[in-house]
Amino acid sequence: MICSTNSRLPSIGAYKGNAPGFGLRREAKRHAALAGADEISKSGVAAALCHRSPKSRASVAHERAWIARAMLADCRFCAHDCGVNRLAGENGLCHAGAGARFFCAQTEVSDELELIPTFAVALSGCDMHCDFCITGATSWNARAGTSFDAQTMAARTRAALREGARTVMVLGGEPTIHLPAALEFVSLLPDTARLIWKTNAHGSAQARELLDGLFNVWLADFKFGNDACTQRLAKTPDYVRVVKENLLWAAKHSELIVRHLLMPGHVECCWRPVAEWLAANLPGVKVNLRSGFWPAWHAARHAELRRTVSTPESDRAIDLARRLGLNLIP
């Protein structure tokens, strides 16, 4: 139950007119009008944003999926803020269309120990372009993989949960660019399922408000410690500010685990500022420092990324984390 005070999930009270920064109701109506979707304002928006009685996670997700679908007409799910009409076939920087595709869905045990085994559903396409992305072209290409059918995937997910998966992880690519499909998927899952939102934390304020209260854990990357490295390696401007804002929000609205993939040659320029910021601004937050970098996809374009992380680099990074008192988790 989302609105219950007994719930372990965060409240969606922010939608009752006191959301900071902007009014989601107004935004949703504007987007619904753009999409010509009058029925959304009659049922979905009003119910999703104004209800006062407890509702199941599934029903809230269902209603928000309608809102998200309408918002594709003026897509601003990620911080690139393209404003393209994906419903009309326009593409933004992520090249994603109106429908979602996925390139992998299986039970895995390679994530944080407290989350595994997890049934991981990887949606195709990403709004960032990290040259070293381990899933590379497959995950970056929004047209890769298979058309995503929420009903079919939900049935597979329920089967995975019955067979022992402890959590369900929605990831990419970057799932934020496929909010309508992700929310519809959530609406078909049991309210008791523990859901993980695995994100690059480069989403917009609109996107995160649609996600509020639906996922038990935000598993968020903080990949780069400065905008110069981000621009050079991932072609993404204004990255650090956006990620910090999203992490602060996620910590207040959900359980948060921050991931940093240690990159060879980037301990001082990227890990150090990330670690220092986390220590100062999110003390106690769970941090997973990943040292398993391998030079995938276009990594060889950058001299320092043509190798794995050395043992001294890894040791130095861990030592820094310990000195700063970070809450490292395996």
Binding site: F103, E108, T146
Partner: protein, 84 residues
Amino acid sequence: MKKHRIKKNCDPSGKSQTSELLIMPDGRILVHNLTPAFAGLLHELNPYDEQISSRLSRRNGVKADVTRLPLLRSGAASHPSPKS
């Protein structure tokens, strides 16, 4: 850097499962998308690897059919790698 990599696109139908490996010259194996079945196989290759053991112990009832997996030629240490 000399590397040997087994790579196959994940099967979206779910009929088969896929893990990706990077076998390092020093014998380390980096693994991406580690499935319970593959963790079972790696555990058989090196039962003393704590990282694999800890992940295997979390799987509980998850089915692990290692008979369908290709055999690895060698494997010293192994550890999972992140999605990036």
